[in-house]
Symmetry: none
Subunit: 131 residues, 2 copies
Amino acid sequence: MLIRLDQTLDAPLFEQLASGLRASIIDGRLSGGERLPAARELADSLGVNVHTVLRAYHRLRDERLIELHRGRGAVVAVRIGGHAALAGAVYDLVDEAKNHELPEAALLALISEAYRSAPRASGVLRPMPTR
Amino acid sequence: MLIRLDQTLDAPLFEQLASGLRASIIDGRLSGGERLPAARELADSLGVNVHTVLRAYHRLRDERLIELHRGRGAVVAVRIGGHAALAGAVYDLVDEAKNHELPEAALLALISEAYRSAPRASGVLRPMPTR
DNA sequence: ACCTATTTGTCCGTATGTATG
DNA sequence: CCATACATACGGACAAATAGG
């Protein structure tokens, strides 16, 4: 799996793990449909608690990078037509904005601001903490 | 606080709690800047574990409905214009767009197009995403 | 249809760290 | 310095869905 956790870093363990896995998925070292180790298994091999691994897994699930299923484990998401799902979300949002009678310009402004100020979930643009 | 948890429901406790708090925030029973009970305190009064409350708090933080700060507790987010749920949806969408590495300009274009071509207004709030 | 092993989901408990006031 | 309160990490227990025999 080639992921190393460093207790001494200020970055939390679960975040180091999520970042490492995310990097592997993004650059293709882990490909769609591929199965990740069971949480307990990975936890043992890394010397951390299961909850720490699960927390990283849940993070990646929230980012739609992996899928989690009981009894089946964690699988790298196949992102075919990912933009299609995104388009659906766009329509949902615009629909709700209209319900709130929010002008188009206001929504665009919100989007722009969110782009500038929301570094949280992605991690794609964020380099892995090195050393 | 007027939130009741029902162990017998199939909905998880943390989700019931998050839903209850979310509803209170959305409809204004809890207003911006208002402080929520400390996690431990609320946990005791509800008869659940601290982690369960914190999990609900984290959920609401992800939705940008509350802010969490060490030593200060949980505070209902003050939103300067725009509905809270809408603001949360905006951040969710932008997060996802970033995950897809979709440039800001592209998302803005999608939004504008959706504004022009989406005629109807459902008026119905979407149910909470059940992960 | 049944049973069993696997694996995540949820919840509880405890301890320590750290920013805030 | 000290109390508060969230953040992280550890540990354990049971439930529930899945897959395979």
